[in-house]
Every structure is written in structure tokens, then in C-alpha cells.
């Protein structure tokens, strides 16, 4: 019997076609790199800066992965293939099978584990729609830590179920902006009550600095991408068992963590396949973004990262796919796109919603709207395969389910 849960994380940095520009400090008398020392668990920071191709996963973390349902299933979308009458075969890795509903748990488990191991009792983070917050809430309760989540107030009001899920796991959820931090109070004073991910991030970091809680990072940093590499490593083994070699690999991109976690191990094994990163047309970072050093957070607390970016002051329009509303792309993914190893595509929300509906009706699974962007691209690519009569294997990452945001599907007609 094949053991599917990986025992090591994979880091693509030593294998990149071009060197990865390191994080940089913005100012003369302040070091943002130094601030990371104070807010992140030491082991997480060590993983960020000690680049090795493979890093052993602690057995406690492997146990948690197993307890929460890893390996996640690799399924074939036969009914969708039939409906499209495409010669292509369509497979998907279903990260929505994890209890909180998305891949985010893969990165929350190690970060909370290291926080606990280093003697901390409390962790803090921010969340938009709530997928990351729920992952931190669950892994905190699993390891016996207190967790505090700053949730963008507009989502807090509109998505009560995600908030309730976090509270059920024992998390303290604060609508952001809040009066618990200076960042929050400033925003409230200026009348910005509905909040943004950047403000929530600023509040979480300030809370971590003031109260000594450890800050949990949801995406973008290379170390988070590495923690997600369990997805792709499992996929390789699952495809092997099916005797399938992938030709086209697709995932959606917010900061890049599910895409990287899914594709990087596969890029390492099959470097010449077609890799497609799908973003939202409403946040046109692939078509309009520039590759340069920029702030990952609009509170400008974290160090500068070289990435494809629309600029930290870019204000994303209010689309439903909260997880895709981010101005940048993780540094390593930016290198792979710039070097042409990964192709980028954009899909608009209407296409994503239609694709998500079609997928739900045929395959039963309701994709998170973020993931529905990948589904929409896969459908296009499968139809193209039909035109060219290509008998290809398309494999995509279904990063999460959308059962707690069904109104996203019903409100748009």
C-alpha cells in the first residue's frame, strides 16, 4: 500500500530557472526583516530563510494532516468530460475535502504547531472571507492554543457562517477595523468602517507585536508555499497509481499558495508540461502587473518582496472571490511566470460563477468562487482540446468548496 501523505515539504527555490530576489528592507532606520523576528515562530522564519530542497515534516504535523483527512482525493470529472464531449480527461485534486473547506489548513497546521512548540499560548491572524481564519482557528484548537482573528468587517457582516465556524472552533473573532489596535482606531476615526484585508493584516501584526502573540501567515511568503507542497506531492503519487501522466496543470491564484503547493512538486518531476495560473480579470495583475519590489501589505510593515504587482495602493474591486483580491503574486511564482515556465490566464467572475454552477450540477461539488476560476479555465482548455482533437490529461486543483457562500451563486444571475 502506498503511503500518500508526504514526509517532507518541497521547496522549489534551489530549482528555479533564475535566482529568487530576497526580501528587502525599505528604510534606513527601521528593519521590517527584523520585525519578522518578533512576530513569526522562529522555526517558520528559519524555514523561510534556510533554503533546502526538502524539509522533514514533524511527525505531529503529519499526524494532524492525517487526522484532518489527508491525503485529499484525486477525482476524475467524467460527467463534465461527457458534457463537453472532449477527448481530454479531467482530474482534480479536492482540497475542499479538508474540514475547514480549503487548502489553507495545510499551512495553518505547521505554523500553529511551531508556535505551540516554542512555548506560545496565543496566535493571531487576519482573514477576508474566512477560509484562512477558519484554518487557523481549527489548527489552534487542535493543538490547544488560543486564537484571535481580525475579520474584514464587510465579510463579518455578510458571511456569518464562516465567523460562526471560527467561533465554534474557539476563536475570538473581531470585526476589523476594531478598537483593539491603533491601526483599527485610526481607520474607524476616518470613517472606514467596512475594512480591508490590508487593515486587518495591520491590526493582526500590531496585536502580535503588543501582546506577544505569534502571527500566522496565510499566503505569499515562500515558506507558506512550501507548507502547501503536500498537495502536489500527493497528486504525483495518485496519478502514478492511475498510470496517468499530466499534460496541463491548472490552479487559481490569489497570493499563489494553492497553485504553488499543487504545481511546484509536479514542475520538479515534469518540467515541460503546460502550467496555467488563473487569476481574476477584475484584478488584472497578470495582464497589467509589473515585476518589481513592492510591499506585500498596505500597512507597509512587512519587508519588500520582488513580485508581479499592481502596486500596494491598488484597490481591488469588490468581487465575491475574496481570496483573489490581492495586488501581488508570490515571489517564486513571479519568477516562474516571468521565465515562461508557468503561463498566466485571467477569467472574470461571471465565467467563474457559470463554470462553478455547471461543475456543481454535474459533479456535485460546489467550488469556492476562487477555485471556480480554475474550473472556468479548465472548461475552455478542454473545449480547445476538442477542437484540436488532443487526448490530453488536464489536472487542476480545486482549492476549496463554496458551501458556506452559496449566496455568491444565487445573487449573481
Amino acid at each position: 500500500m502506498v503511503e500518500f501523505i508526504p514526509k517532507r515539504w518541497f521547496n522549489i527555490i534551489p530549482k528555479l530557472p533564475k535566482p529568487l530576489p530576497p526580501p528587502r528592507d525599505p528604510e534606513i532606520d527601521r528593519s521590517s526583516i527584523e520585525i519578522l523576528n518578533r512576530i513569526l515562530p522562529e522555526e517558520v522564519l528559519k524555514h523561510q530563510f534556510t533554503v533546502e530542497e526538502y524539509v522533514d515534516i514533524p511527525s505531529e504535523v503529519v499526524d494532524a494532516y492525517r487526522a484532518f483527512g489527508r491525503p485529499t482525493p484525486l477525482l476524475r470529472a467524467t460527467k463534465l468530460e461527457e458534457r463537453l464531449s472532449t477527448p481530454a480527461r479531467i482530474y482534480f485534486k479536492f482540497e475542499g475535502a479538508l474540514p475547514t473547506g480549503s487548502h489553507k489548513l495545510n499551512a495553518a497546521i505547521p505554523q500553529t504547531y511551531y508556535a505551540l512548540k516554542e512555548g506560545n499560548s496565543e496566535v493571531v491572524t487576519e482573514t477576508g472571507a474566512g477560509q484562512w481564519g477558519a484554518a487557523v482557528a481549527l489548527s489552534s484548537s487542535y493543538f490547544g492554543l488560543r486564537s484571535v482573528v481580525f475579520m474584514v468587517r464587510s465579510s463579518y457582516m455578510q458571511k456569518p457562517q464562516r465567523r460562526q465556524l471560527m467561533e465554534l472552533y474557539g476563536s475570538t473573532v473581531n470585526p476589523s477595523p476594531s478598537d483593539l489596535t491603533k491601526v483599527g482606531m485610526r481607520e474607524l476615526k476616518e470613517g472606514n468602517v467596512s475594512g480591508s484585508l490590508a487593515t486587518a493584516m495591520g491590526e493582526a501584526v500590531e496585536y502580535a507585536l503588543d501582546r506577544g502573540a505569534k502571527y500566522m501567515v496565510g499566503s505569499v511568503l515562500d515558506v507558506v508555499l512550501m507548507y502547501q507542497s503536500v498537495i502536489g506531492q500527493e497528486t504525483i503519487k495518485q496519478l502514478e497509481v492511475l498510470d496517468v501522466e499530466p499534460d496541463v496543470l491548472v490552479g487559481c491564484v490569489g497570493g499563489g499558495s494553492n497553485f504553488a503547493g499543487f504545481t511546484y512538486p509536479i514542475i520538479n518531476s515534469f518540467p515541460d508540461k503546460e502550467y496555467v495560473a488563473v487569476g481574476a480579470s477584475e484584478i488584472p495583475k497578470f495582464s497589467m502587473g509589473v515585476y518589481r519590489y513592492d510591499y506585500p501589505d498596505s500597512a507597509r510593515i512587512l519587508p519588500l518582496l520582488k513580485m508581479i504587482t499592481l502596486g500596494v495602493d491598488y484597490r481591488p474591486p469588490p468581487i465575491y472571490s475574496g481570496g483573489l483580491r490581492y495586488h501581488g503574486v508570490a515571489p517564486s511564482l513571479s519568477v516562474l511566470i516571468t521565465e515562461g515556465v508557468v503561463k498566466a490566464a485571467e477569467v472574470d467572475e461571471r465565467e467563474a460563477i457559470e463554470a462553478g454552477r455547471m461543475f456543481a450540477r454535474l459533479q456535485g461539488i460546489v467550488p469556492a468562487l476562487e477555485s471556480a476560476h480554475a474550473v472556468a479555465y479548465v472548461i475552455k482548455r478542454a473545449l480547445e482540446a476538442k477542437e484540436k482533437n488532443e487526448r490530453i490529461n488536464i489536472v487542476f486543483n480545486l482549492s476549496g468548496h463554496g458551501l458556506l457562500e452559496l449566496n455568491n451563486y444565487t445573487e449573481v444571475t
Binding site: 527555490i13 534551489p14 530549482k15 528555479l16 530557472p17 533564475k18 535566482p19 529568487l20 530576489p21 530576497p22 526580501p23 528587502r24 528592507d25 534606513i28 532606520d29 527601521r30 528593519s31 526583516i33 527584523e34 519578522l36 523576528n37 522562529e42 522564519l45 528559519k46 530563510f49 534556510t50 533554503v51 533546502e52 519587508p303
Partner: protein
């Protein structure tokens, strides 16, 4: 067995011309080589201490700063970003007695110019000290290893002088396995990390921020620090 090398970094003209020259002469017999930082327009990969030292060293042109170090040590390495380097500076470095050039941003921001730049340095009569980081991919470490006729310099942290946690042993071993020539390790090493770096295969270590910081306040303290570092390096 060969003794490990101690390389000390100084910012040219810091804290002022007289003190810089005096200190450099005082340590010239204690250290194996000196790395001289020529003030850049933008100190991209430097921490607060080195950045401040560049400001203090203002008031001189880059050429004056290069020439200032003339004949200070038997092995001098000029440190400059590629962004700032102009051709005739290399000739000036050669005539001022430098042996090698270290260009930290070459493999970070201009990897495609590696071969061409190394060739330019060689044709000026200088040797190549090539800068790699833990983020440098294997293929570029191999390319740099072939071209580094002075040494390979591993900057183990993303910024000088910021004590981010790094597993020094693992990082050094990864580079050591791919590079047979001389390997120098630097960027914010503390005493125990110096020992780990050397016992993991480094041939020498480079120290900058802590000395520059000491020199800002008290030359005697900085001197003591260099002596202490010599002892630590020799003890491994």
C-alpha cells in the same frame, strides 16, 4: 592544516577618512583580507548599520573612496553594486591595489550578466569574488563556482546585520557540496554561527556590521572585537 580566514568589511571613508585609514592599518596584520565598501546610490541589501555608514561616508566621490584605501592591505576586495559600477572604476581598483571585486547584486538582479561581468572584471586584472545567497538556485551556484577565481561569498541572510534565524550549518553544507574552491561566509554571523560555518566547510568568514557599528562609537572597542574574532576563527 590551513587556518581559516578572517575577512573584515569596512565602509570606505567611515567614520571619517582619518579614522578609517588608521583603523584599517591597525587591523591589517590581524586579518587575512579586507572588504572595502564603496558607497552605492541605493544600499539594496544592507541593514541599518551599513546604510548609516554610507551616509556618514558622504562628501567623497566614489573614485575618491576607491583610491582612499590604496595599499591598506595585501588582499583587498572592493564591494560595489553593479548598479553603480562603471568601467574605469575597475581600472582604478586595480591601480589602487585591490585584488578582487565582489558585486552582491550581480546574481540577484542581473543573473544574465554573470559571464559578461566576470569577464570584464578579469580583463581589468582583478579577480572575481562571486556573491551567492541561500536563495541562489543550484544551476547558478554551479556557474558562479566555475567563475569565482577569488572566492565564493555566501551571504547567509537577506540583509546585513539583521539576526534572522538561519540554520547556518545546512546552508553552508549545501553550497560546500557544489563548490570546491574557497568559500567565505558572512552577513550577521555571531560567534557560535562562525564556529558552525567553519566546521560545516567554510574556508573563511566575513564580518561587517558589528565592526562598523563598534567603529562608529569607539575605535578601541572595534580593535578588540577584531582581535576577539581572530581568536574565534583560529579556535575552530
Amino acid at each position: 592544516m590551513m587556518l581559516s580566514e578572517l575577512i573584515v568589511y569596512l565602509t570606505a571613508g567611515h567614520p571619517n577618512k582619518e579614522e578609517f585609514l588608521k583603523f584599517a592599518r591597525e587591523i591589517s596584520r590581524t586579518v587575512d583580507a579586507m572588504e572595502i565598501g564603496i558607497r552605492p546610490r541605493i544600499a539594496k541589501y544592507d541593514g541599518p548599520v551599513i546604510r548609516r555608514s554610507y551616509l556618514v561616508a558622504g562628501g567623497y566621490t566614489r573614485k575618491e573612496l576607491i583610491a582612499m584605501a590604496s595599499g591598506l592591505s595585501s588582499y583587498m576586495v572592493a564591494l560595489t553594486y553593479l548598479d553603480d559600477l562603471i568601467d574605469d572604476e575597475l581600472r582604478l581598483m586595480k591601480s589602487s591595489g585591490y585584488s578582487a571585486v565582489l558585486i552582491p547584486d550581480l546574481l540577484i538582479d542581473y543573473p544574465e550578466r554573470l559571464a559578461e561581468t566576470a569577464q570584464l572584471v578579469s580583463s581589468s586584472g582583478l579577480k572575481n569574488a562571486l556573491f551567492v545567497t541561500p536563495f541562489t538556485p543550484d544551476s547558478y551556484i554551479d556557474a558562479a563556482s566555475r567563475l569565482a577565481d577569488a572566492f565564493l561569498y555566501l551571504g547567509i541572510r537577506p540583509s546585513t546585520g539583521i539576526p534572522t534565524p538561519v540554520d547556518v550549518g545546512k546552508v553552508v553544507k549545501r553550497i560546500r557540496e557544489r563548490h570546491r574552491g574557497k568559500l567565505v561566509v558572512g552577513f550577521g554571523l555571531n560567534e557560535s554561527e562562525i564556529k558552525v560555518a567553519l566546521s560545516s566547510g567554510a574556508d573563511g568568514i566575513a564580518v561587517g556590521s558589528s565592526i562598523v557599528s563598534a567603529l562608529e562609537k569607539d575605535r578601541e572597542k572595534a580593535l578588540e572585537l577584531v582581535k576577539r574574532l581572530r581568536e574565534v576563527v583560529d579556535s575552530v
